[in-house]
Every structure is written in C-alpha cells, then in structure tokens.
C-alpha cells in the first residue's frame, strides 16, 4: 500500500521527529519511543486515523448547555492526560492529536458527533459522555461503527459493551460499601431517600433499598423524587423532620443540589448531627453549593481531591498548573483522567490500535499511576476500584473517613438487587 512506498523515507523522518520531540523529555524516553514505533500498516489494519507520527483521539463532552457545568472537569482531565502521554512520547511512538466535539447537552447531538468522530475522523478512541442518556444515545453508534469509548461517570450499571470502558463506578460499587459503613459506624437503621427524577437516582435507590432492607435489616422511611432543576425542597425537608431518619441518602443532581443543601441548612438541619450520605456531590458540586452549606455531609465516591498518595499529589499539581489554581477535582474528573492512560496501556499491550484488539486486550490492564491508587480493568470492562467515604469540610474539600480494604469488584448486573 501507499505506506510501503514511502516506508523508508517516512521512517527516517519519524525517527528525526521523535528525536526532536523527545529532547526536552527525560533522557530515557527517546529510546523507548523509538523502540515502540512499529510501522503504521502493522498496527492499524482497519483504516483508523493513524499516521506515522500521529494518532487521532476524540473528546466528546458538552461545552454548551446545561451539562457544560458538569462536563468541564472531565474534559480538562482528559486533555491533561493526553498532554502527559504526548510529553512522554505518545502511544506506540505516535503523538495523540485531539479532535474535540461539543455534545451541547443534547443526546442526539452526542450521537451525531460520535458518528462524525468515528466515521469521518476515524478516531482510534473517544473519551467522552457524562450523562447516562448521552451514553445510551452514542452506544449504538460505537457498536455499529466499532469504536472505543472511555466513559468516566459513576452510573447506574445495567450495561456492558465490548466498545466501552467504564472508568467510573457502577452503582453497587459506590453504594453498598458506604451503606455498610454508615450502618456500622452510625448505627443507622432508618433511611430517607431523595433523588432527582431519572434513571440513575432511581436505580441507585433501588439497589440501596434492597441492601437496606435485605442485608442491613433497616427501614426506608421515605423515597422522594424531584424533577431535574427543581429548586423548592421545603416540603420534603418537613417530611424529613417528621420521619426523623437516621440517614438522609441523596442522589440529587445539578442545580437542585444547591437549592437542597441551602434550604436544608436554613431549615435548621445540622449536618454535624444529622447523618447525610450523598452519592452525587463531588468537589465540583460543592463549588456551587458553598462549602459552609454542606459541611458535615458524607459523600461516597472512589476518589477525593484530598487523597494522600504520591500519584494524587502529582496529578493535583499538574491539573492546577494546567487549568488554574482555583479549579477543583471531583470523582468524575479523576475517572476521566484514567481514560487516555488506560487506552495507552491497552494499545501498547495489544501492540495495535485496532479496536477489536484493544477491546480484547483491555481485560486485566492495570494502571498503577492512577490518582485514586491502583485500578484494573475487569472482564466486564468496568474497573476494580476502592470505595471511599469523605466528610465535607467548610473549605469545599472532603476529609476521607473510610476506605474499603480491598478493591471492589464491578458488578453491573447485580443479582438480588434488581
């Protein structure tokens, strides 16, 4: 093919370029890069956008619309990770070129742009999506055109695809350990569930309810849902006062969060006395809620910015250097950061950019440099990861109060919880 005709020349040029590119990098890197730069024809048999020097990767998040608020961090982390990979010589000797598309908080737009990234731009992988709805919209596209999606958000589970790596937690990973913890530490028996009205909170609460009733032998004294964007919670707060639950368990999202915590505080519910466990508030959300309004609440996530380990310290410093001192890093941001790194490791293990080979090689990929510690890809394409409980501080950070002893197995189709 065409590549063979110019093979020698381009190989030479590539070496030169690689050498130049690697000058500022560590002295060890050029040799690695050279060693890992096999001919394009061998590592790309399906016509992806891979040249001798570049590989194209898509980023697909909402830059505009209501979801832009949430997706900013994820997008920034992905760019950081890609920048780091490029600094270190790229993937199989090829620099990552990013094509970014805006999903505009609109699910069909996500599907449209996903198709563009796969069909027109021939992206080797796509980092993207945030809401379940956007993922559901792009999933058929990725399956039909055989693309690779790295999806960063914690989500409801009930899904597994060859073409997706889920770098966030599925619901059971996030919820069960934290409920066990709160039952044991706070002697909790009664729970009040409050969520936004869509699939993730409903599925999460369903799992939580089964766990509370069947495993913890506790009682759910209330379960309430509000439309997305709802801002009036005084009535439900009165119900909480009436039912006096041991734990308020919330998965309220977006702007409603702000209203909910402000009104909770104003109604005199003191979170240092009343246990509140949330699975939807990260450092990002606290930015809008105001640390003083939510101080004392518990959140259960796999990652908090305040985690103490060398990987995380390096990550936080790099992130702030790239995106400014004031930015905060939440769970999803970290999970998004994992995407490009996991993909690079998988491609290198597979020795190929081909999606089929990458999908097949994903099983068992370990990333030791993860800010959250150590993660490993499960055969079901979710991650083994630890679950942690943090207590919100007035400065908007979390103090980690609990960490699961072992990695928790992802279980997107949990038996007994459906």
């Amino acid at each position: 093919m065409a590549e063979n005709d110019v093979g020698l020349e381009s190989a030479l040029r590539r070496r030169l370029l690689m050498g130049l590119a690697a000058v500022p990098a560590a002295s060890l890197l050029p040799r690695l890069a050279l060693a890992a730069a096999p001919p394009t024809a061998a590592i790309n048999t399906t016509g992806l956008a891979v040249t001798d020097t570049e590989v194209t990767v898509g980023i697909l998040h909402s830059v505009t619309g209501t979801m832009a608020i949430s997706e900013t961090g994820a997008q920034q982390a992905e760019k950081l990770a890609i920048e780091e990979i490029n600094q270190a010589g790229g993937v199989l000797g090829r620099k990552i070129k990013v094509i970014q598309e805006d999903g505009a908080s609109d699910w069909p737009t996500f599907a449209e742009k996903a198709k563009k990234l796969l069909v027109n731009d021939k992206c080797a992988a796509v980092m993207g999506c945030w809401t379940s709805a956007s993922r559901k919209a792009v999933l058929p596209v990725f399956e039909q055109y055989n693309g690779m999606l790295y999806y960063p958000t914690f989500y409801e589970g009930l899904e597994e695809s060859k073409n997706v790596i889920y770098t966030g937690q599925e619901a059971t990973q996030q919820i069960l350990a934290s409920l066990d913890w709160v039952a044991k530490e706070k002697d909790a028996k009664t729970f009040f569930f409050i969520g936004s009205d869509y699939i993730w909170p409903r599925t999460s609460n369903k799992i939580a309810r089964k766990h509370v009733e069947n495993v913890l032998k506790g009682k759910v004294v209330g379960e309430e849902y509000f439309p997305l964007g709802h801002t009036q919670f005084n009535s439900v707060i009165n119900k909480i006062k009436l039912t006096k639950p041991n734990v308020i368990f919330t998965d309220v999202v977006g702007g409603s969060n702000v209203a909910f915590y402000k009104q909770l505080k104003a109604a005199g519910i003191d979170l240092s006395k009343q246990v509140l466990m949330t699975i939807s508030v990260t450092e990002d959300e606290i930015d809008g809620i105001g640390g003083e309004n939510i101080a004392g609440a518990y959140a259960c996530m796999k990652y908090f910015q305040s985690l103490k380990n060398p990987n995380n310290e390096k990550f936080v410093a790099a992130f702030k250097k790239m995106w400014g001192d004031k930015t905060v890093i939440g769970d999803v941001t970290q999970a998004a950061y994992l995407g490009p790194h996991l993909w690079k490791l998988t491609v290198e293990k597979a020795g190929s950019f081909d999606v089929d080979k990458v999908a097949a090689a994903s099983n068992g990929i370990e990333f030791k440099g993860a800010p959250e510690g150590y993660v490993r890809i499960h055969p079901n394409h979710h991650l083994w990861s630890k679950t942690r409980v943090g207590r919100a501080l007035p400065n908007g950070q979390f103090e980690v109060v609990y960490e699961s002893a072992d990695l928790i197995e992802p279980n997107p189709f949990p038996k007994g919880y459906q």
Partner: protein
C-alpha cells in the same frame, strides 16, 4: 366577463412554484446524495425531519397566525409511537434472555415492570403503529385545539399554554421511566419489520423515503394553501371577527390548521426515530420546540419552501459552527432570532422575493406571474 384573468384563475401551483418544487426535488434527491458522503447525508436526513415541523408551522403560524411553542410535543409523540414499535421488535425473547422478564423492553425490566403495559400492546403491529404515528398526535392536537380555540384563546396565551404542555409532557415522560424509558428515551432500536435500519444502505433508503414524504407534505400544504381554506386562514389572521360574521366557524378552521401542523410534525418525528435510531424526551421540551419555530421564521414564515431551506440552513450552521466554535454558536443562534425578527421578518423567502427573484425575472426577460397574493407587508400581529 367570465373570461378568467390571471388573478381569478386559481391553479394548484403557479409555474414559478413548480420551478421551486423542481429545484427542491433536485436538491433532495440528486444533488445532496451525490455531493455528500453517507454520514453527512444521514445528517441532512435528520435535518429534513425537522423540516416537517417547520412546514407545519408555516401553515399554522404563518398563514393562520397561531404560534405554537409546543410542536416538539407532536414531533415527540410521533417519534415515540414509532420508537415503541421498533423497541418491541428489538426486545424479542431471544434478544432479552438475560432479563428477569424476557420479551419486554430492557428499561421496563430495570424498573421492575414485569408485564407489557396495555398501551404498548398495539405497537406490536406495524399497521397499527403507522396509524398511531399520525393519529395520536393529531388527536392530542385536536383536544388541545378544541379546548383553546372554542374558548377563543389565541396569540400569546396560546403560545404560553402550549409551552406549558411541552413542559408537563417532558416531566411526565421523564418521571414514568418504567413505561417510557425516562430521560434516556427509547434507545437501541434495530429493525423495522425485520429490516435492519442501522446499515448504511438502509439509512440511504430511509433518506429517500423521508425526502419523498416531505415533498408529499409540501404538496399537501400547497393544496391547503391554494384552497379556499388557505385564504380563510389568512383572512382569519387579519380579521377574525369578519370571518366569523361571514358564517364560518373560526374555531374549526384553527383546529384544522393546528392538527395539520401536528400531523406533519408527527411524521417528522417518526422519520427521525427511524433515521437516528432513538427517541428521547429532549425533543418534547420547550427548547427544541422554540428552535423549530426559528427554522420556520428564518425560512420566511409564510413560505412553504422557505421553511425547508430555513431548517436546512440553521441546522447546517449549527453543525458547522459548533464544530469550529462551540462557544460562539449560542451567540450566533441568539443573534439569528433577533435579526430575523427585527430586520428580516419575511426571512429567506422575503430576501429571495425582493432581491433575487426580480433579477431572475429580468434576466429571463419574460414576465413571471406574481408568486402569491397572500404575502402580508409585515408580520401577523397575533
């Protein structure tokens, strides 16, 4: 005295309009398929489904003066009807073996629904589905229209109430996720009566079907516009009372226009589902409904062809700008709304009529018949 002058003769379409139709057909059926790759063509196909809504709005808003801010409701209902059929077909017992209740859509299984709800049953049949696609939204429009127009609700009140209906329906669909798929919508649709709609060849074919239906709707709209009913709609927009005292039941005519617009929107919605492969509540809400109004406004609210070109243009701009400057797109769209209202109330069609058409006429050196006698000098005031 009975010899028909050009003005009292009433052909179905003037020669100019035939020419416009020919250009549109050439564009949809020849030029675009030749010029665009499969991906872009599918995109155009998606835009054209919105053109159905814009076409309906041209009749209902442009000619009749009823501004509905809830056309997304009908687009969505049509789309959902189609999606329910496709979803049932995709949820065969074999495909859903891992579920606790095989044979029902996956989202129902996740929400502990154990049997197919009664209102899903008719959608097992393709003929019933095709009927429902048009009938359900039209009936809904009829009920809303009858309630409102019989009580002489119009203008801004009507706009706001339709908007509220759009908001309510969205909340309902999102809230009843066990039956509707919730905010994710109905996804992962595969086959239509055994025919895989996901393949490239199927998409191309659907594009042509879509184009054909659109042209059929244009002809239907043209028929209405050219009939006495079309002139009554214009007359009503002008002097509703006078029409009433000429012996017409004004409400029935408004209901008709509203239902027609709803039926067009519903066909568009169903074609959308087929071409894009899913349906979600994000089409039912206020924002898409208002965006669809701007398609008609950009095209020229009184022009059937303008509505289609307006839709294509705005969506093309949206795709292009949001690829290169996502931050600027909303500024652009906002400015477009303001510009079309302040500076070009007749939209593209107005610009064409005032600047381009006279040039063509002069060049052809042949007097062309006036295009339409029903163009108002300004915008309809309510």
């Amino acid at each position: 005295m009975t010899s028909p002058s050009p003005r009292t003769d009433n052909p179905f379409m003037t020669p100019t309009e035939w020419a416009y139709l020919a250009v549109l057909c050439a564009l949809i059926f020849v030029l675009l398929p030749l010029a665009l790759d499969g991906f872009r063509l599918n995109l155009v196909g998606k835009y054209l489904t919105y053109a159905f809504v814009a076409l309906g709005l041209a009749i209902c808003w442009g000619y009749c003066g009823i501004l509905s801010l809830g056309q997304g409701v009908f687009f969505g209902l049509g789309g959902y009807c189609m999606a329910m059929y496709l979803k049932l077909e995709a949820s065969s017992v074999e495909n859903t073996r891992i579920q606790s209740t095989p044979g029902i859509p996956d989202f129902m299984d996740w929400n502990q629904v154990t049997a197919l709800p009664w209102f899903w049953t008719p959608f097992k049949s393709l003929p019933l589905t095709l009927i429902a696609v048009v009938l359900v939204p039209t009936l809904f429009a009829f009920v809303v229209g009858a309630a409102m127009f019989k009580r002489r609700v119009g203008g801004t009140y009507f706009a706001i109430i339709t908007q509220a209906i759009a908001a309510i329906l969205t909340i309902l669909i999102v809230g009843q996720q066990g039956y509707t798929g919730g905010i994710n919508g109905i996804t992962d649709l595969r086959t239509l009566h055994g025919w895989d709609i996901r393949t490239d060849s199927a998409k191309t074919l659907l594009y042509f079907v879509n184009g054909g239906l659109l042209v059929a709707c244009v002809l239907a709209a043209q028929f209405v516009k050219r009939s006495k009913l079309g002139r009554i709609l214009v007359a009503m927009r002008d002097k509703e009372d006078r029409v009433r005292f000429s012996g017409y039941g004004v409400a029935s005519f408004k209901i008709f226009a509203f239902c027609l617009a709803a039926a067009f929107a519903a066909v568009g919605g169903a074609m959308f589902t087929l071409q894009v492969g899913f349906m979600s509540p994000s089409f039912v809400g206020i924002v898409p409904s208002i965006e669809m109004v701007i398609y008609a406004a950009i095209g020229g609210r009184l022009s059937l062809f303008g509505a289609i070109y307006g839709t294509l243009l705005v969506n093309w701009a949206k795709t292009t700008f949001s690829e290169s400057f996502p931050e600027l797109w909303l500024f652009g769209l906002g400015a477009l709304f303001i510009a079309v209202v302040l500076a070009f109330p007749d939209g593209l069609a107005g610009l064409w009529r005032r600047h381009v058409a006279p040039l063509l006429t002069r060049r052809a050196k042949a007097p062309m018949p006036q295009r339409a006698a029903t163009l108002p000098k300004g915008a309809p005031a309510e």
